[in-house]
Symmetry: D2
Subunit: 180 residues, 4 copies
Amino acid sequence: MAKMTTSEDAVNRHKDELSTLSNYNQETYNGSNGEESNGVTLTELLRPTLKNGDEKFTFSKEPTFEEVRRLQAEFTDERDWNQFHQPRNLLLAMVGEVGEVAELFQWRGEVAEGLPDWTDSEREQLGQELSDVLIYLVELAEKCHVDLPQAVLRKMALNRLKYPANKVQGSAKKYTEYKD
Amino acid sequence: MAKMTTSEDAVNRHKDELSTLSNYNQETYNGSNGEESNGVTLTELLRPTLKNGDEKFTFSKEPTFEEVRRLQAEFTDERDWNQFHQPRNLLLAMVGEVGEVAELFQWRGEVAEGLPDWTDSEREQLGQELSDVLIYLVELAEKCHVDLPQAVLRKMALNRLKYPANKVQGSAKKYTEYKD
Amino acid sequence: MAKMTTSEDAVNRHKDELSTLSNYNQETYNGSNGEESNGVTLTELLRPTLKNGDEKFTFSKEPTFEEVRRLQAEFTDERDWNQFHQPRNLLLAMVGEVGEVAELFQWRGEVAEGLPDWTDSEREQLGQELSDVLIYLVELAEKCHVDLPQAVLRKMALNRLKYPANKVQGSAKKYTEYKD
Amino acid sequence: MAKMTTSEDAVNRHKDELSTLSNYNQETYNGSNGEESNGVTLTELLRPTLKNGDEKFTFSKEPTFEEVRRLQAEFTDERDWNQFHQPRNLLLAMVGEVGEVAELFQWRGEVAEGLPDWTDSEREQLGQELSDVLIYLVELAEKCHVDLPQAVLRKMALNRLKYPANKVQGSAKKYTEYKD
């Protein structure tokens, strides 16, 4: 059915998984129950979300920004944590997570596209830290009533006006000048 | 038609707008041609993306992460800028943009949800700086081959396991302990 | 003797302490030998460096920036770590440490001068994280051949020219305008 | 005289320069009066503080941390700006300045010690941005009543205990493990 491919269904499926996961006890989280048959298993949950193949890299179509916002808002509501999630608190939390991303890159010198020399564990950790930055960025935008997906569309359009392709083509010098 | 509401159509419409915008000369960008009738005008382009009403705040359903990734990848390709967009460069660029967000909040003391005391111009600037953080976060994830939307879904699921709602409910002390 | 009060002697004394400390085995570090009588004890080493009294807060006169630079350079040399301490690596390390400072402040709302509600352990941790930021800032300046103490003197002089006291007195609005 | 070389005299001399500078009108700051003969001229003020010679790079012996703290405290007092300098505001200001340092490094790829390919103007800007980070770091420490020079001495001593030279010698792998 066409409906099977809509974004809402995908998120509903995910919600089922989440509620299954939420019922897991700590033992399960610690890995003693990897054969769970109904819902998603921890094995699946921990499978890498990184693709390192030859084909052009793309993102999955789901979830959307709004779905991430809603899931995170529900997570915060359920824990009665909105009292701690003022804009400046979320901003400092985002700074903390950016710091954790930086720690993964700090002693490596230059790093090539696709991270060819990184272990699976390092890639997994990177995926988690980038996600943490995103989660706080989305919550910060929400609490500031910034419609982030529309704002970014508009910012990308402004960038096209500001850096016309024919004027800034390829030169590092021009690039820096334009960026500054 | 149903197709009219799909995400692809919306992005195609946006692409038309973008190509219109890209053909604008610098004069237009400087505001001398606000009456442009075909395509989007600068007036529309600069309309606030912030909603500050009474209703519960939500994000627009579009664009998706993948659409943002693709539009930004095209922008970078067209300018031959991939040579500058190694992972660590993008990370430092993201740090720079986080710094610009911080500058908007730095002398204000506590800030309430919805930013009631901010001017339209300050809100607009915040929307742009948050967008810049997002753009570099998306490009960094892409160059690292991290499927960001799926990674964040998984991270949110892990957070649900790590912070069970019934255990961490509401207490600041518990919250901090759990977060640390 | 007059020489006893010079900065060099103070650092030499400290160097003796450091070499004593370096000879401590891990057991000592873990606290099983708090009665060490020659040189500094771990108890001393771990005494808070925070002053929270009524008198006006000031810093100790020692060590100087140059002493911090030299001690850290020796530390790096002895471990053959200069190979990892390129400017951009040190910058990312500093970003990581700033993130750790942010984590200490992120869920607290506004914080008053002198941190009246913080525990000794939280103060100690803050002192360590601020020190980490300083260590990487000093090493980054050194590797970039920036004479940091002189540069800051000059920057403070430029700030006096840029923000004349009689023009920017007290008003938040003026302050923000001038800072921006 | 011996007194001429003490740190206090140096700072007093600098204070004279500062008060001279503070009396400059904006015209002078804009460069129309470069021949000023008494006190420091703008030309001197803007001379690079960077050394890029063959000799081993060291910092100047002055000013000390306490002198930087005191000069900045006087600057803040004179402008009645303590009302804006709560700990979290200063932290966000520091994050903003770290972002400005990052912007100077973001599109360059790897950068060699001493910044051989940087222009004088870029070096000067780097000196200013690193100084801004330091100024806010010092003020943040002061408002938190952290004795920063002593805290850093203690942190470096703890690092010597944590990373014994004979155990962590030279290997990137070991380095990362120890640092993590």
